[in-house]
């Protein structure tokens, strides 16, 4: 905006009106499809409400929440969600940071490696789950490869049957699908670090490892924090893989993540009130992580 006198003139008022006209459709949209439903979810969570029943839902205050906090099924979902989120995002973070640093350290075929890692992200999550469903078949590639590496011919690892393995299987699918995505984020983070920083270190005689820990990593910290929170939030919302696996006969308990539980409670069992209470808890968890991101990124401003 060019500097003008602070007195609002006719033209300024006209322009302000146009500004409102441009944003009005979105305001209407977000009110109806974001704010109203989240308010509604909170409101419904205070009622005992069944989707099919025609009688007025009973107001039961916080009883849905009290029920959930006392329900082993819900705690199982919380556990399944956090096991999945931590078990996916930590390896994802470490591997993608390592691969990005490796790619930046070589001079040839950078583009090739980026594209190759990114390729699983191109296909949809349902398709990836379907592919891995076959790989995890008892006679599938999963067993063949693991047995070839560990030199244990003929062992079935029960990828989709054992309760620990089925968790690992969902993590592998997610890791596979998102690794390239985070590699690319880290590469653009690394590319933002000024060359002069490295040249200065070179002159001071710093070696590869020291350069990474003393220069690259601290400067990359904002990206690391961002990627951690983003992938954590992404993992907390996981649904497709778990849904497709359970639909195809995998045991539900170990991978009954909160989203799957909300879906089953609300849509399959019609307990709208209880499902809404779960939604609000999920929302609060995610809100907490978002707040954490804002807080950490505020205190970690980096100056080159």
């Amino acid at each position: 905006m060019t500097k003008k006198k602070n007195r609002p003139g006719r033209i300024d008022r006209k322009l302000a009106r146009w500004g409102l006209i441009f944003v009005a459709p979105s305001i209407a949209f977000f009110s109806v499809f974001s704010f109203y439903p989240i308010g509604m979810a909170f409101y419904t969570s205070l009622f005992k409400k069944n989707l099919l029943s025609l009688k007025r839902p009973d107001f039961i205050g916080l009883k849905n929440y009290i029920y959930l906090f006392g329900s082993s099924d819900f705690w199982n979902s919380v556990e399944a969600t956090f096991v999945f989120a931590l078990g996916t995002f930590l390896p994802l973070l470490i591997a993608s940071l390592m691969l990005a640093a490796f790619i930046m350290s070589i001079s040839k075929a950078r583009r090739f490696f980026q594209m190759a890692y990114y390729s699983p992200a191109v296909i949809s999550s349902v398709v990836s789950a379907a592919i891995w469903l076959l790989i995890f078949d008892p006679r599938g590639l999963g067993n063949q490869w693991v047995n070839a590496i560990l030199q244990t011919p003929g062992i079935d690892n029960r990828w989709l049957a054992d309760s620990t393995m089925v968790r690992l299987s969902t993590m592998i699918v997610y890791f596979w699908k998102y690794i390239g995505y985070f590699v690319i984020i880290f590469i653009s983070g690394l590319a933002n670090i000024p060359r002069s920083m490295y040249e200065a270190a070179e002159i001071d005689g710093a070696t590869g490892w020291a350069v990474f820990w003393k220069i690259t990593f601290p400067l990359l910290k904002p990206t690391v924090v961002l990627v951690s929170i983003m992938s954590m939030l992404q993992c907390l919302k996981t649904f497709s893989t778990q849904y497709l696996f359970t639909q195809s006969g995998a045991p539900q308990g170990p991978i009954n993540v909160i989203t799957l539980n909300i879906y089953n409670t609300g849509i399959r069992d019609f307990r709208i009130g209880r499902a809404s209470a779960m939604s609000i808890i999920l929302f609060s968890i995610m809100l907490f992580f978002t707040w954490l991101q804002f807080r950490t990124s505020k205190s970690d401003e980096v100056n080159y």
Partner: protein, 284 residues
């Protein structure tokens, strides 16, 4: 930088390449598996060891993929549904995000910051938390099991608004001022100056919006009841979950469903990757 290369350096370098290549095998092999398995009869797919090169092209897989286990040929219809939904959402997202971003970036009006903060706040609301109320609203206004029901809740999203605003803040004011002095109508300014000049950001945003819908499973699962209105993720879930599904046909479905995305990726890979790189430029 390369003053003297020692054998140690060379060892490190080859180790780096080895790790990089190992991960390439890990990421690419399942995709190659999908492609090769789609051409094989089921008995060859779950066979030890897996033969990476199909002996011949097993056409029945693709016939079964398209005809479905029930022989009702829902696949073409479901693909069409996905294309309609994803394209419509892309168009509305680009349009609304561009308008809103422009309004927030280039106009001063009371409550501008508040509106921007509120829109950003919606990014914190996970879809999973609002899906049930959204479902109830959609049913109440009679949009369940229709294109409207699949499209309307995704017409624009906060991230799109954010992206367009960040881009348009840097747009030179002189162009807009000059057009205003020439007496151009505000709508014309938007259409013939702002919109065409945002092409790269719009391309990135389009791809983000399109793939989000191509990938969307949860919402169609809620609002769609009839086979005819199903989108491609629902078709895949149904096909995969059916006990007597043929493994080869399953991979043929997976492959056919991925073709549109692969075409987009190879044609517009820079915008694909641009979508994820946006995050890293979001400092502070």
């Amino acid at each position: 930088m390369n003053s003297h290369i020692t054998t140690g350096d060379r060892l490190v370098k080859s180790l780096i390449y080895a790790v990089l290549i190992l991960f390439v095998i890990f990421t690419v092999a399942p995709l190659v598996f999908m492609i090769t398995a789609s051409m094989m009869p089921a008995k060859d797919i779950v066979k030890m060891p897996y033969r990476w090169i199909p002996e011949s092209f097993h056409w029945p897989n693709f016939y079964k993929a398209i005809a479905g286990n029930d022989g009702r040929f829902m696949f073409p219809r479901n693909i069409l549904n996905s294309l309609i939904v994803a394209s419509s959402v892309t168009v509305t997202t680009v349009l609304l995000a561009c308008m809103t971003g422009y309004g927030l970036a280039k106009f001063r009006f009371r409550g501008r910051t508040f509106v921007f903060m509120m829109i950003m706040a919606t990014m914190m609301i996970p879809f999973e938390a609002i899906m049930i109320p959204l479902y109830l609203v959609t049913t109440k206004i009679g949009l369940q099991n229709s294109y409207g029901g699949l499209i309307v809740p995704f017409m624009v999203n906060a991230f799109g608004v954010f992206m367009m605003r960040q881009y348009l803040v840097t747009f030179p004011d002189e162009f807009i001022e000059a057009a205003r002095i020439d007496g151009m109508h505000e709508m014309r300014i938007f259409w013939s100056i702002i919109f065409p000049n945002s092409a790269p950001t719009i391309a990135t945003l389009s791809i983000l919006a399109f793939r989000a819908q191509w990938d969307n499973l949860l919402w169609p699962l809620l609002v769609v009841q009839s086979e005819k209105m199903k989108t491609i993720p629902l078709y895949i879930v149904k096909f995969t979950a059916e006990k007597h599904s043929d493994e080869g046909a399953m991979m043929a479905v997976a492959l056919l469903a991925s073709i549109p995305m692969f075409i987009l990726f190879f044609a517009l890979s820079e915008y694909f990757i641009g979508g994820s790189a946006v995050f890293s430029s979001r400092k502070g």
